[in-house]
Every structure is written in C-alpha cells, then in structure tokens.
Symmetry: C2
Subunit: 265 residues, 2 copies
C-alpha cells in the first residue's frame, strides 16, 4: 500500500518532495489534476466533485493514506470526505488534510495567538483557517487575505515580477502585531524566504510542517505504518501533460519527473 | 435560432459585447467553460475534447452560428470540428473561429507582411497564426511570442502590475520592423491601448476585427441571416459560478450580467 499525495495541480509536488525527503522509505503516488487546475477560483460544489473523483481514484490505486496537499481542497472537502465517503467505502483508509496540522503549528505555544493567513480566494472564502484556529484555541484571532495572483504567477514563471504584488497583499497584515503568518497554499512554499524577508514575521510554511506531522502520525498509528510498502517507489500521475507542466514539475521536484497521464471520472 | 459565442472562460465576453454592439438586433447565447478555464495551458487533445462538448451543447441550444471566441480553441479545434463533426450532425450550421479573420486584417494591403503575434502558450505552440498567415500570403513573416502571465493577471485584477511583464514580452518584437502586432487572445483586448502605447506598433485587436467580419459574413450569407431570431435576447451560460467570475463578467460586459450555470459533458 502507498502514501498518496493529491493536489489540484503541481503545487503539491513541493510538499510531496518534502515528505519524501523526510520519510524516504515508503511507496508514494502523486496525483495532480492538471486538466482542471486551478481549483482556487472554482465554486465549493465543483471543488467537492473534483476532489471526490480524485480520492476514489487514489483508493482504487491502493493508497492507504492520502495527503490532500491542496489547501483549497482541504478547506472544501476534507470533512465531507472523512464523514460521508470513507466510513462506507474504505473504513481502514485515511485522508489527512493540511489545514489542521498547519494551524496546530501556527498556534503552538501561544496563549492568545494572532495569526495572519495568505491563501487563495476559495480558501479564504471558506474561512477554514479561521474556524480551525478558533476550534483549536478559542482566543485565536485570525486575519485572512486572498492572494489570487500568486498561484498563476508562480506556475507561469512569473516569480521575478511578484515582489510588488506580494507587498500589496502583505500590506493587509501591517500594524496588526501578528505572532505568525501562515502560507495557506502549497505553492507559496516557493515564496517563503521572500515573505520572511519582506514581512519580518515568523512564517509557517507547509513544506516544513506537513512532513513532521505525518512522521508523528505514523509513529502514533503503527497499524497504518505496517500497511505501507517500503520499496521507495515513486509514481507521478496527472490528468493532462504539456511541456509547461513538465518544466514546472521538474522545478518543484528538484529533479526530472516522469508524468504519466490518467483519467478521473 | 441564435448566435452562440463560446470561450473557455469569460474573456470572450469582450468580443461578445463588441459583436452585440455592432449587431444588436439578433438573439445571442454566450457560453463560458469556467469550470475548466483556462484552456491555454492544456494539451491539444484535452482542448479538443472540451471544445467538442461545448459545440454539441450550443447546437442543441439552437445556435445557428457559433463564434469560437477563444484563440486557443480556434487554434486547436476549429478545423477538426468543421470537417468531422458539423457535416455529419448539423450540415446547415456554422462554426466561425477568430484566427482566420484576424489574420485577414493583419495582412490586408501588405505585399510582404511582417506580423508579430502575442498569444497563450498553447496557441503559439500550435503555430495556427503562422500557418494561417502563410496560407493567406506566402510572403508573410510571422514572429510569435507566448505570454502566459497575461490571462491570469487580467482575470485576477492584476492589470495594475502588468506593465513590466508586458514590456518583457514585447521586447521580443523590438528591432524586427513589424508591420502589425496581433493580440492573439481575447483577453488581450483589454490591454490594447497599453500595447499600442508601449510597442509603438499598429495593433490588431479582435474586439475591433471580429464584429465587422461577422457583419460581412451575414451580408454574404442571407440564408444564414434569415434563420436568426431578432428579439435582442441575451443569455449568459457558464459551467461554474463564483463571486470572482461574476465581478469579472461585469467588468468585461460593462454592465451587470446574470450568469446561469449549466453542465457540459
């Protein structure tokens, strides 16, 4: 059995790579829905439909644990999948999102955390970070800002133009005396040093958080860990292949990646 | 019967509006595939699949003529649709693309036209503008440049950051003594004055070309014109609705637009 990592597109490769570096022994299957990326601009019902198709595919492909490495997907669909789909069809499998562990890290050690969140329009609109922070810590104050230009600029080789755009988004957090700033989209990992330098805030980046949280989870759940294949297998599946996707995948993964095309339905 | 206008998303509204201004008497149906926009980053086979679904929908919805107001879709799928699909299923209907009329305008009156084309990655990769220009005028020289950041920046309220990005794309055309520069993507109509000012070149913009070409076509084809309803009906259909799409539609159409959700398959 494998660890599955799902993202709407290729941004999740940054997280997948960090997980594989931290836990190299397992078998991994990455799935990116490049035929319909980006999800961050779509409605909640559309996102839930697409995520459901992806999860069914990954469970049929022998994934024991699936990491929803997409904040938009986690925000919209994680709870629904965990409550409605898994118990009936795959009671022994697990879907883990990125929002709960990221919020755990963001509020850890603080009495009355003041947290900023930079994310896609859809994630901000869902208020998933606000709800989760208040659930974990009643005294938490959360300020969220949608940053719709960052994903397309990162995906289309536009990072060199991003500083003035980023500065405008970050201006929303100035003077708020935040304790931490959460990068609430997997793509933003690529900007973490730029955000640290320009905001002056402690930044919570998911490529640093998620691998540790998954390692903890596997220690606490040996019955899951036992099921996992340990042949260091890596497969990268996408729903559409183009030269741009191949180039971006290579930049994110830090090495050539063979993308295999599959259909979701 | 109606005039259908199809685009991968909402960019085609700029063209639809210009057509409706020029030919206000007819009934129109606009369809934007916002559930899967943008097409410009996707593979040729995926684009052809999506365009086929849209055309079937529009013909079933009583469109006599469909304007493929999307350069990516025209580049990839127009000829296939015209040759393989229409003759068998709807022999009396027509699909008109945007590339042929745009090239007619770009080469008109020139002996050895030197044409620049700014377009999406997929349109450039298809070489549709190069092939069409050489077909219309053997002596044509065409220089194409992909501008992948422009569509997402326009769609996500990023025009105010676009000048340095645009300047870098336009630099590819400097010193080439071009006769005309074609904006080969419907979204770029919104940048036409900026491109004119910064390039110093005569710019061919599709919101100026396509309405005139369609008016000509209807004069030359009265059997088509006779079929069209003349009740000034306007319907706007999309495959996904969000507040961002609604705001962008209103900016493009210049007035509030009621978006109705439909399914393509």
């Amino acid at each position: 059995m494998r660890i599955g990592v799902f993202d709407s597109g290729l941004g999740g490769l940054a997280i997948a790579r960090a997980i594989m570096d931290r836990l190299p022994q397992y078998d991994y299957l990455y799935l990116g829905d490049t035929k319909r990326v980006p999800y961050g601009v779509r409605s909640q019902s559309t996102i839930h439909e697409f995520v459901g198709q992806a999860l069914r595919f990954l469970f049929r492909s022998e994934c024991q644990i699936v990491i929803l490495a997409c904040n938009t997907a986690s925000a919209e669909s994680l709870r629904k999948s965990q409550q409605e789909y898994l118990p009936h069809h795959y009671p022994k499998r697990r879907v883990l999102g990125v929002i709960i562990p990221t919020v755990e890290e963001a509020v850890s050690g603080l009495q009355s955390p003041r947290i900023g969140v930079l994310a896609t329009a859809s994630t901000v609109e869902s208020d998933a970070y606000g709800r989760e922070a208040r659930r974990q810590c009643g005294a938490a104050a959360v300020v969220q800002r949608a940053a719709p230009l960052l994903v397309p600029m990162i995906e289309n080789d536009g990072i060199r133009y991003i500083e003035p755009v980023l500065d405008e988004y970050l201006a929303a957090f100035q003077g708020l005396e935040l304790d931490r700033l959460v990068l609430g989209c997997t793509h933003y990992c690529l900007l973490k040093e730029m955000v640290r330098a320009r905001s002056g805030l402690p930044v919570v980046s998911q490529d640093e958080v998620i691998p540790e949280k998954l390692a903890d989870y596997l220690v606490r759940h040996p019955e899951m860990e036992d099921m996992l294949g340990k042949n260091r297998e890596r497969r990268y599946l996408v729903t559409d292949v183009t030269p741009t996707f191949e180039g971006f995948a290579e930049r994110l993964a830090g090495a050539p990646v063979r993308l295999q095309k599959v259909e979701l339905e």
